[in-house]
């Protein structure tokens, strides 16, 4: 059985503090490990939790009250996606230090300059060229997958700074397609 236990010693590890954001709410989390169990506190309420991983992909978590949930897991940046049988919960987790850094304010790119593929597919047509001025909502290109055509539109008014794909090219979900100036 391949469980996290196999790579752990029995010693204690310094607890890790995290900030969790879901919707409007912010919670303070602290995680530490004791032997094969974890202690996780949410806003000061601690519980002992058992988490096991099978086949590298499926996980089972057992809360202190005995409730067991099987789940799949996927992370994109700070977004931790926990997929239960009936729904996926997205947990936004930050290092408190990075929160502070962010609060003090630096780049603040809201992503609207980077137009990305929302799904894997093939670029079937490109409607714009580098240097074109585009208006919000204007079609930039067509992404095709599984018998469906999806028009990718400009998220804001702007000028096409860079065209990163050409017609016929296959792209992965999340790949950047167009950069706006």
């Amino acid at each position: 059985m391949e469980t996290p236990r196999s790579r752990r010693g029995d010693g204690k590890v310094a607890p890790v503090k995290l900030i969790c954001r879901m919707g409007e709410e912010t919670r303070e989390i602290e995680v530490s490990r004791e032997g094969s169990d974890y202690s996780v506190s949410i806003d000061g309420r601690a519980q002992v939790v058992d988490l096991a991983t099978s086949s590298g992909v499926l996980h089972s978590i057992k809360l202190q009250n005995g409730r067991q949930y099987m789940f799949g897991f996927h992370r994109e940046g700070t977004k931790h996606e926990v997929s239960f049988a009936d729904r996926t919960v997205i947990v936004d987790l930050f290092d408190p230090l990075s929160m502070k850094r962010r609060r003090s304010g630096d780049d603040g790119d809201d992503g609207s300059s980077h137009v990305r593929a929302i799904m894997p597919g093939r670029v079937s047509r490109v409607h714009v060229a580098t240097g074109d001025a585009v208006r919000k909502g204007q079609g930039l290109l067509i992404l095709e997958a599984m018998k469906m055509e999806n028009e990718i539109v400009a998220p804001r008014d702007g000028v096409v700074a860079e065209l990163l794909v050409h017609a016929g090219e296959a792209v992965e979900s999340g790949d950047e397609l167009v950069r706006l100036e």
Partner: protein, 499 residues
């Protein structure tokens, strides 16, 4: 008989299963993208027929017939979609000395034209939606019909189907514009600008009847299927029997369906689709001259294997079952499991299936086209499998379906499973109260997947925190013990991280 299966995905696997059970060797055809697709792995022989796009492979009738000749196949099963309702392909098979497992080219042609089929149905006494019998010669003919029948009316392309090339018109002022748009779409989509109009039936249900006919003139029906639940005119949940059809109505529906099939000398398996109003009056919509995606619900309730019936009929055998030997037992429901993300507008989600646990146990059938470790290609229909649950009555079938959906785990790509899980809990669905517009309204009204219970949410936070903790431990280097979290950020850049 040696059968070439001119299809891919779950239906190709379904046909191979039936052939194998009857002892017929099978030949798979595949595009370059499908070398290790399940239908290839399960076939006895396999022939590559072209590059990934369907029009260069699965739609290449010439290459498919050549593959049959090369391998010594004696029959071709077209599945559904691709070449299944192409009369020219059926004819080409026959001309090449191959048995086409389906109806005659003439039956396919007769039912392929909306206007011709409506005329023949009306002549055979099968109720049709009041409407023009022929393609309209001009706009005035459409307007005259609309004024006589009353609004709303539907303007439709004669060669259309699948929700394309049709428009609902509520008022006279909108009629001309609709006529012109449908005419232009019909020309560009279907290569045939012919357009007609018919009365619009409000809040309809979509009920279809499965028929079986042989080459000796025998036709029977196997009861109806409830296919009302559609998303953007595509069926997504089907049942047998319909929750609103009783024995008397079933007999009338079946009688009309048998008359319809006989009117075009139909043999093989086929489906007559009816539109049914709230008053239980039903009208012929179209006939699908092939195996239907949703045929398994009928199989589960009748105990018959429709693909085997097709194979026997194609060899000239007479039907082995009389109408009074067809017994419906219990209830079956099918959900079409797609590689689509229901939380993001059902966007396609092809890719590698990293872990697959399929639902099993009592009352569950899964007609699968994929397997653990398979990469779902971007080129084709996103259907992963058809999940079917049966029970002694409808409530048990629904409970089983929900249980099966909860067991079904597909890691690596998104699927429509969570959408169906929610739907199984919907009161209107459970009560059988819906029409063809129900699902689109339902999807507007709910926020999918946004309602985790409090404890489930807590479990998610705890789970995410532990996996983040484990990751921070993994990347922690002794000399940089303070900045473990930064390293996590770096690991991210290498793409999807999974523990």
């Amino acid at each position: 008989m040696k059968v070439l299966v001119a299809n891919r995905g779950e239906i190709a696997v379904r046909v191979i299963r039936a052939c194998r059970e009857l002892g017929y060797p099978t030949v798979a055809v595949y595009s370059e993208a499908d070398r290790v697709a399940l239908h290839v792995l399960y076939a006895d022989e396999a022939v590559e027929v072209g590059p990934p796009p369907s029009r260069e492979s699965y739609l290449r009738a010439d290459r498919i017939i050549a593959a049959a000749r090369q391998t010594g196949a004696t029959a071709i099963h077209p599945g559904y979609g691709f070449l299944a309702e192409n009369a020219d392909f059926a004819q080409a098979c026959t001309d090449a000395g191959l048995t086409f497992i389906g109806p005659s080219p003439a039956s396919i042609r007769a039912m392929g034209s909306k206007t011709e089929s409506r005329q023949r149905m009306a002549a055979a006494g099968v109720p049709t939606v009041p409407g023009l019998m022929d393609a309209a010669k001009n706009y005035e003919e459409i307007e005259a019909f609309a004024l006589q029948a009353g609004f709303p009316v539907m303007v439709k392309a004669s060669a259309g189907g699948g929700g394309k090339g049709m428009r609902l018109v509520e008022r006279l002022e909108e009629l001309r514009g609709a006529f012109e748009r449908v005419q232009s779409e019909a020309g560009s989509f279907f290569g045939d600008p012919a357009v007609y109009a018919e009365k619009f039936i409000a809040s309809p249900r979509h009920i279809e009847v499965q028929i079986l006919g042989d080459m000796h003139g025998n036709v029977i029906h196997l009861g109806e299927r409830e296919c009302t639940l559609q998303r953007r005119h595509q069926k997504v949940v089907e049942e047998c029997p319909s929750p609103v059809v009783g024995p008397e109505l079933r007999a009338r529906l079946g009688d009309a369906a048998v008359r319809a099939a006989k009117a075009v000398d139909y043999y093989s398996a086929g489906t007559i689709e009816f539109l049914m109003g709230a008053d239980s009056e039903f009208y012929f919509l179209e006939m699908n001259t092939r195996l239907q995606v949703e045929h398994p619900v009928t199989e589960e309730v009748t105990g018959l294997d429709l693909v085997k019936q097709q194979l026997r009929i194609a060899q000239g055998e007479a039907l082995g079952i009389a109408q009074d030997q067809v017994v419906l037992r219990g209830h079956a429901i099918e959900c079409r499991i797609y590689a689509e993300d229901p939380f993001h507008g059902f966007a396609p989600s092809p890719g590698l299936i990293r872990q697959l646990i399929v639902p099993q146990g009592p009352g569950v059938r899964n007609d699968n086209g994929v397997y653990n470790g398979f990469t779902v290609p971007i080129f084709y229909d996103p259907m992963l499998s058809k999940l079917v649950a049966r029970g002694a009555e409808r409530a048990e079938a629904i409970a089983r379906m929900k249980r099966a959906l909860q067991e079904y785990r597909v890691e690596g790509i998104d699927t429509t499973i969570p959408f169906f899980t929610m739907l199984m809990d919907n009161d209107d669905f459970r009560a059988g109260r819906f029409d063809t517009g129900f699902l689109d309204r339902y999807l507007k009204s709910v926020e999918l997947g946004r309602s985790a219970g409090e404890e489930q949410e807590e479990a998610a936070i705890v789970a995410a925190a532990i996996l983040a903790f484990e990751e921070s431990q993994l990347v922690k280097l002794p000399e940089e013990s303070d900045s473990s979290w930064k390293r996590l950020g770096r690991a991210e850049a290498t793409g999807r991280w999974r523990p």
